[in-house]
Symmetry: C2
Subunit: 185 residues, 2 copies
């Protein structure tokens, strides 16, 4: 399957520091969640309502698995992991690769999925499946930790859709993806 | 001199891609300048009017040295370089280190300087001299090339001042620096 011929499209909704980090080196997200609380829902619920399903990697899932107020509505949750047991959590479907996740999502008739986690987002970007990015910049420089973005096989042009300044000084911008890198060989 | 006791303060005004790059690996800036043209002055002239002097590294100076319409008004231009001859260009004063540049700027009575170029900005951030960052995100992912930000000795809290969406989809945000990393040992 050439991923770019898929009818499946992915959307990203992510908070990051002004220096582009998505977590501290130890995975800590307090710098994000403390300000996220000030920003309230920050458009997250309408965003989740706009998707059919959620896809993320194991590390991201483990970070959200114990959230008390599950924010993903009733959207099916798919987790990409080579190590998680298939029955690890009744709320999730485990896939062994991004390709397997995409096949399953398409079989289920999903058209727009929420992809989360740096590695999973980069994989979907490389597969030319991302149609929309909503990035919320948190007003802090944290210096170290994983970045959202990495090398691409070619540039990706974006179109600005909207920008909103949220309480706490988060700047949230939505971009439409105009073209995408060619899939890696 | 403890830099943090200086009365000199620095301001940053910089364009970067949505993935946080300030140039392509070969130094190319066409992705920025082409969209910068759509955005017009983009607040640059009022910004230059707000500073007393300009400081940058040699690579950044070489990138702007041949601009036909010099955009820096009559502000004194200081270049930090260990290799440039002192009389390399009649428009500039050459300093052999960031410390030497700061000493000279303070002797000249400057209070607010425009610092440009990734390395110079990171040095001024580490020296706790940056009071304001204006970052203009260009709607493109370029994948590779130098990033503005790097490791810090501790986090830097920012306060959101204003956000403007410019023609061409650039999102320009000004932040005030609330605290800064301790100077490197």
């Amino acid at each position: 399957m050439a991923a770019s011929q898929s009818s499946l499209r992915a959307a990203v909704f992510l908070g990051l520091s002004v220096d582009g980090r998505i977590a501290r080196p130890d995975g800590d997200l307090e710098w994000l969640t403390s300000r996220g609380a000030a920003a309230g829902d920050a458009g997250f619920t309408p965003f989740v309502q706009s998707v059919d399903a959620v896809v993320m990697g194991r590390r991201t899932f483990e970070g959200i698995a114990s959230i008390e107020q599950w924010p993903y509505l009733d959207r099916p949750m798919h987790v990409i992991s080579t190590t998680l047991a298939a029955d690890a959590d009744p709320r999730i479907t485990v896939h062994r690769s991004g390709e397997a996740a995409i096949d399953a999502l398409q079989r289920d008739g999903h058209r727009r999925v929420y992809v989360d986690g740096g590695e999973t987002i980069r994989w979907f970007l490389a597969a030319e499946l991302v149609e929309e990015l909503t990035l919320s910049h948190v007003p802090v420089l944290i210096g170290e930790g994983p970045s959202l973005f990495g090398p691409l096989t070619k540039g990706v042009h974006l179109e600005h859709v909207r920008t909103t300044v949220l309480d706490g000084g988060m700047v949230q911008t939505t971009y439409r993806v105009l073209d995408s890198p060619t899939p890696p060989a």
